[in-house]
């Protein structure tokens, strides 16, 4: 890949489902480029394909046809095992409902992605401490998710997503379960990660206020980007 290539390239992507024997097309020839270091908000009505696109970008789902490249990796050509390994090393996911493991404390939840890497226990502890400090949760390492507010849990979720220092961050409605104040804190955090640490962020959201934090907003409707505009 040369520097002129976009970090994420989607070409002629097709994806559909069969529901009750009826084929439903979600994407039929979707094209999209996202440069390295971008912060993109994807908006659209329910059923427009936002989550489907995010799942394919995460390697959780596969396109039926077309090309999906992230960095040097062609996800459309990779098997399940290779995509799992790719996820472990190249991206972080922030979930709407945090998806923390309730039986693990904050530090242990954040440590999970590092367990897939050849790191010593000390290196893992140092990284976890550093990243929890970055998201403002220093001193709460031993707290369990049930002892935290929604905003704090989402910050643990963000810490888990960035602890292995991936280039790409995928966020699925990261503020969908938060009050306005907590949502703004989380969005500020994402903006910081994008602007200061250079993370490429793709965020699916229904919330226009959340979308304002992105550099670009893409509107999906019926499987196509029907509008693209710069956030104010």
């Amino acid at each position: 890949m040369t520097n002129t290539q976009p970090y994420i390239s989607i070409r002629h992507l097709q994806k559909g489902y069969k529901i009750g024997g009826e084929a439903i097309s979600i994407f039929d020839g979707l094209d999209l480029d996202i440069p390295n270091g971008d912060f993109v908000a994807i908006m659209g009505p329910s059923g427009s394909g936002k989550s489907t696109l995010l799942n394919m970008l995460a390697g959780i789902d596969r396109p039926d046809a077309g090309e999906l490249r992230i960095g040097n990796s062609y996800l459309n050509q990779m098997g399940e095992g290779a995509r799992a390994s790719w996820r472990a090393h190249n991206m972080g996911i922030v979930f709407q409902f945090y998806n923390l493991l309730p039986m693990l404390n904050a530090a242990e939840n954040v440590e999970l992605p590092l367990l897939l890497k050849p790191l010593s226990a000390k290196d893992r502890r140092d990284r976890v401490r550093k990243v929890l400090d970055l998201v403002g949760l220093s001193g709460r390492e031993r707290q369990y998710p049930s002892m935290m507010s929604g905003g704090q849990q989402q910050r643990v979720g963000i810490a888990r997503a960035i602890v292995s220092d991936p280039g790409l961050l995928l966020c699925d409605e990261p503020t969908g379960d938060l009050d306005r104040k907590s949502a703004d804190d989380v969005l500020q955090m994402l903006r910081f990660l994008n602007q200061e640490l250079g993370k490429t962020i793709i965020m699916v959201t229904h919330d226009p206020e959340a979308a304002k934090y992105a550099k670009r907003v893409l509107h999906l409707d019926k499987g196509n980007f029907v509008e693209e505009k710069r956030a104010a």
Partner: protein, 400 residues
């Protein structure tokens, strides 16, 4: 640690830590496995205890001569001329002789007698063995624990430890009615819990007279030089009587009896345990499917973070086996506490009661425990596979 092992370890840890959420159904799986294991261990302990009682009674250095084409003492008949001919034979045919050059031998008969221990109790069948004075000496591992041996021509009996312990009225000096006559208890003997302890010994002639068995000999016990002498003895036996005579080692005689009864016990035990195991396996499958359903979000989240399908599969399987393992340990513990050393009795080859102790040995625990683990392994296999097929999109849509 390889990556897959590390991932499996983390997933297993998450699974096991989430067990309190599924406490009721997980506990039911553990208990059903424990029940199967305990039932099987009980039957196997019974079988093992019976085997130990009979196998402990036999020595391979002692030959038991039987007549009439049977391989059991009951139904055997050895003609008097055959015994005379054998005793008259000179030369070494594998049987030990005393200082006077006579064969070390004991003629014996078994009489089964009904005995009612106490009023209002069911009658039991006991084995009274009439033997020559040398009889007790031709038994290895037998010790006179109390009193003395019977005297020739006297209506005296020496009682095995099991009978002395199980039935009242067999204290030394007491008189016991066996058949139509009274007998005096003069001694107790022990033989490390073997089947001998379920017998009553008396003088051969007195026994014959008391039960109208004059002249009868059912078996002839002979002390061999060693186990290999048995074939030499059998060659000699071909030539001394018209009646077909066969010498078997005492060890084989009792082992064959033990094997038949132990097989019957296991014939009931294994099918019952396996039927229960099928039910328990279905229960385990249900438990683990519930577990996978309960952990859908966690499994999908970890896989979305990069954990492999294999680790999801192995961790679920491990949980099933861990629960089965706990059940197996509980079952073994329960069977050991409940059954080990428990006194039981059954009817032996001579139609008399044989007492034995249930014995929860290492191989009993191993067999029952392996069945418990098999329940976990089989019951957990399909849910483990199901864990690998979870749609990961569930993780992204999951609510809290």
């Amino acid at each position: 640690m390889s990556n897959h092992i590390k991932q499996t370890f983390i997933m297993s840890r998450a699974n096991l830590f989430s067990l309190p959420r599924r406490l009721a159904i997980s506990t039911s799986m553990v208990l059903s496995v424990a029940l199967v294991v305990a039932v099987l261990a009980g039957f196997l302990a019974m079988s093992k205890g019976f085997e130990q009682a009979l196998e402990g009674a036999g020595s391979s250095d002692i030959a038991v001569v039987l007549g009439g084409g049977t391989n059991q003492e009951m139904g055997s008949d050895i003609p008097a001329d055959a015994i005379r001919n054998l005793q008259a034979m000179s030369g070494d045919f594998g049987v030990t002789r005393d200082a006077a050059g006579s064969l070390i031998a004991s003629r014996e008969i078994i009489v089964t007698i009904g005995f009612t221990p106490e009023a209002d109790t069911l009658p039991r069948t006991l084995a009274l063995r009439g033997m020559d004075a040398s009889g007790p000496l031709i038994r290895d591992g037998v010790t006179l624990s109390d009193g003395r041996l019977f005297r020739p021509s006297a209506r005296e009996i020496v009682v095995g430890a099991r009978i002395a312990a199980d039935f009242p009225g067999f204290e030394i000096g007491e008189t016991v009615r066996l058949g139509a006559l009274d007998w005096t208890v003069v001694g107790h003997f022990a033989s490390n819990g073997s089947a001998f302890e379920s017998e009553i010994w008396a003088d051969l002639e007195t026994t014959r007279a008391a039960f109208d068995r004059q002249g009868q000999v059912q078996s002839l016990r002979l002390r061999l030089h060693d186990a290999s002498s048995l074939s030499s003895l059998n060659v000699q036996l071909q030539n001394i009587s018209q009646t077909r005579l066969l010498a078997v080692s005492e060890a084989n005689l009792y082992a064959a009896q033990a094997g038949r009864t132990a097989d019957i016990i296991q014939l009931f035990g294994w099918p019952l345990a396996l039927l229960m195991a099928i039910g328990a396996t279905a229960g385990a499958l249900n438990t683990m499917m519930s577990s996978v359903a309960d952990r859908t979000v966690e499994i999908a989240t970890l896989r979305a973070l990069g954990f492999s399908r294999l680790s999801a599969c192995l961790a679920t399987w491990f949980e099933a086996i861990a629960l089965a393992c706990i059940g197996a340990v509980l079952g073994i513990l329960a069977s050991w506490l409940g059954f080990n050393g428990w006194q039981a009795s059954t009817v032996g080859a001579n139609n008399a009661s044989i007492g034995f102790q249930l014995s929860v040995t290492g191989d009993v625990m191993l067999n029952a425990g392996l069945l418990g683990l098999a329940i976990g392994a089989l019951g957990g296999a399909i849910p483990a596979f199901a864990a690998t097929r979870l749609p990961l999109t569930a993780a992204l849509r999951a609510s809290g």
